[in-house]
Symmetry: C2
Subunit: 136 residues, 2 copies
DNA sequence: ATCTATGCAAAGACTTTGCATTTTT
DNA sequence: AAAAATGCAAAGTCTTTGCATAGAT
């Protein structure tokens, strides 16, 4: 749908060739790359790009709210460009692959006051676990 | 309630002084320590204990299913001794503190077949996010 | 006596940082 | 020209590993 690059341009994000290739690599659905995977793919388009820049850029995109950081167990963080559309994740317990899934009914379970321990709630994540077809 | 140490003894777990202090440190409710925190506290009871042993022991407890690994964002993994009782986590977005919360209604949302992408589902985690009283 | 856990120190995976240089606006 | 991004290399955090020694059953 909406193009990450366009959205960023619209927000007046200073554009460089490095940032452009990072945004290109991240664009799409069911994209959940690690920083290193982003670096490898970005380097195919722009060989000189450094790992540091990839990390910087990913950090920026997260701050801008355009990309979400997803941490699955002990593995490297993954970056999900679907920050604008609420969704949940289905994670393969074997290989770590992630698919986006979309709420069906009303999965946003609320927490009763007695269970809040004084916290100010901001939301809830749901992560489904299972084994993907490739690993089964 | 149930004592972690007792449960482990009952399962014929080879007991050493190191393992004993790790189990003691982990025992309780709302305990979600990092490996390093476990090491510090264990070392107060048994100064010679090494980090490697703490990591080994935590890994064992996870394999035995007596302790759960909880990964919150990019921080170090935390270890939760409440593996036996189903519960969810309420995480402070500011400081990372975790509280256990217990299902009220039926929070286990099911995923419709059309959204499974061929995965064999094994379960779902719910994590509530918010700001804890200390950080607010 | 046998079998396993421990501890050290080194390596490894992932990420961040400081600073001089280059690029964008 | 001013402001900000890049890249390098070094350091930092968290975790794992190999192997000789110590300890549990």
């Amino acid at each position: 749908m909406s193009d990450l690059l366009e959205r960023l341009r619209g927000r007046g994000w200073r554009m460089t060739s490095q940032r452009r290739v990072v945004a290109e690599v991240l664009n799409g659905d069911h994209v959940h790359l690690t920083a290193d995977e982003v670096h490898v793919r970005a380097a195919r388009l722009l060989p000189e790009i450094s790992r540091a820049t990839v990390y910087n850029t990913l950090g920026e995109l997260v701050l801008l709210g355009e990309v979400m950081e997803v941490s699955t167990d002990g593995r490297a963080k993954r970056y999900d460009p679907n920050a604008h559309r609420p969704h949940q994740h289905l994670v393969c317990s074997r290989c770590g692959t992630i698919r986006d899934v979309h709420p069906t009914g009303d999965p946003l379970v609320d927490l009763p006051p007695g269970e809040r321990f004084g916290f100010t709630l901001s939301g809830a994540d749901v992560t489904y676990r299972g084994v993907c077809p490739a690993c089964a």
